[in-house]
Symmetry: C2
Subunit: 347 residues, 2 copies
């Protein structure tokens, strides 16, 4: 069955020139995929005219008159921009015309509109942002990366269930292990919220490994790492900053003088292989989990390669039936406390 | 005036063989320093006998009969181990025999005993762990790195004041900028605690830059970054894990085959320079700020070079009068809310 992805072609820092170029390469490499590119007609047609591809017959343009700005207040965007490229793309998922939506636009607006239009899956209070990070052993799914700054233990258990469903569906892991992100100082084993979450996870029936520390994320100690959105966002952004700094230091050392420049030439293929291996663009595409539809958020500054990867991500989630698997697991796992928390936690 | 450092010679994963070797090198390179090495007599004498140094005359052994294990509950260590190397080293600071104490031992015990023996400076509720991290521009002082998992806004303001005092005293920055660690998602600008802290920092008289994101730590956007201990610890440990992973990936690429091994040989001096530049051992030594005495915590797994740097850190803080500067700033900065919070936040 073909997979149709609705693309918010106007979203992100670069707009159609990047989103459409990425969409066409994605289509060339994914024969069973189709793309509905949503956005303003003129810029889309112009960008398309400039691109050459044998896959244009699997891309259709769907016109939407408005654009949500990157810094627009999400509540305002939700209330007023009913014909925005983002909203129309999400509508297409709700109506079954597409099985997933990908946007590099305003994260807050994407969260708010997705939640309003698609609604939550049974048993899930709020969406979580799940990302897949490279590790020494392979990859680790980390959530929440910034959607929820105040989480209840019940919500963290829901995140764990959804993360496990995602990792098992897309990465093909039978019983993904779950780690609860905590701190490792000897006197303190986390705050009350984390302690309570740990108790709930122990009786959740999930393959709960126990507490993990920040170091464990990139060690790949567990398949899934669960944390609240504040902590997850800081961990992610700190990692981005560190990787960037190390990359610049490495570059600086190799361009220090003529001798190091020769060394750089000799080492070039190796450094390229290293760079490719850790290229964050290949891990672009965070999933808004818990919605009745697949919504993938690309980094706003994504270039063509990065946006392409967000599209592969969306395709893989559809092809592997992630939504059904989350629904099944939410029903199967005994998360009474999570259920009980549904009302109060919706704030 | 000579600076005397009390060294918990038994602390850490390696004990006297590392702590004493580091102490002697530190003494050789720091002519105005003296060391009181605290610990069990036999292992200390044995380790010393094996070491050669021209600085042995500035190191005296102070016998303490007990040792606190790395995994010992802090409360138990505080109550029962009154003649432990750690406790006796801290006592020496209280009694004025030493101006600073350095330990690679049990962090929780070090916190609990330091607080009990030395007491807090006026206006400070609880100690914070401050670390100095390398950035693109130089260094950034980050606190709290794990001492306090539940912080009030008033406490975060205290951390900011102390961090500023530290950065200005040791790094010689006149009016250090302060960033409040927050998340960058567009819909949410942090939780209530962070928002309230931001309001307090705006009227604190400090050079408050505003919110910063995780990426800003290694960018060096501000001289001081303030956060609660849970978030700070996760950010630090995640960075450690990422750096470790990247290092291993780089190594793997350079040892992949005979050709890449040749490239590694050519690039060796450059890679060494890079490694030295980011070597975490050169940033070892986190300070327990807010106590009536200087206490520096070394990483438990510190080797000789790393422990040496914790000693330089302690020496620099004494030499630059950090304690006086914190006291002055706590008195000078209008932090009414912080004062008001003193009682309730002591839990």
């Amino acid at each position: 069955m073909p997979v149709t992805v609705a693309v918010d072609a106007m979203g992100g820092d670069h707009g159609p020139s990047v989103t459409l170029a990425a969409a066409l390469t994605f289509l060339e490499r994914t024969p069973d995929a189709r793309v509905i590119a949503v956005g303003q007609e003129a810029p889309l047609r112009e960008a398309l005219a400039r691109l050459r591809s044998g896959a244009k017959d699997r891309l259709v343009v769907h016109v939407a008159s408005e654009v949500i700005a990157m810094d627009e207040p999400p509540a305002l965007a939700l209330r007023t921009k009913k014909d925005s490229s983002m909203r129309v793309a999400i509508n297409l998922v709700r109506d079954g015309a597409a099985q997933a939506c990908v946007s590099a636009g305003n994260t807050g607006a994407l969260m708010a509109i997705s939640r309003f239009v698609l609604k939550m899956l049974p048993g899930v209070d709020r969406p979580a942002i799940a990302g897949v990070l490279p590790t020494k052993k392979g990859v680790t799914t980390v959530l929440d990366l910034g959607a929820n700054v105040n989480c209840t233990p019940a919500q963290l258990v829901q995140f764990a269930v959804m993360g496990v469903a995602l990792a098992s569906a897309v990465d093909g892991i039978e019983r993904p292990t779950v780690g609860l992100l905590n701190i490792g100082e000897e006197d303190i084993k986390g705050n009350d919220m984390v302690k309570e979450t740990s108790e709930l996870l122990k009786v959740s029936g999930l393959n709960f490994h126990g507490n993990v520390e920040g170091t464990d994320i990139f060690k790949g100690t567990t398949d899934v790492v669960v944390c609240d959105g504040f902590v997850g966002n800081v961990a992610l952004k700190t990692s981005e900053g560190l990787a960037q700094m190390l990359y610049e230091f490495l570059r600086a050392e190799f361009t220090r003088n003529p001798l190091t420049r020769v060394a750089a030439l000799v080492a070039y293929p190796v450094l390229q292989a290293f760079k490719r291996r850790i290229d964050p663009r290949r891990h672009n595409g965070a999933t808004l989990l818990g919605l009745k539809g697949i919504v993938v958020k690309s980094h706003g500054s994504a270039d063509k390669l990065a946006f392409e990867h967000a599209l592969y991500r969306a395709h893989a989630e559809v092809a592997n039936g992630v939504l059904d698997k989350i629904t099944q697991r939410m029903a199967a796992v005994p998360v009474p406390a999570a259920r009980a928390g549904t009302g109060a936690a919706g704030a």
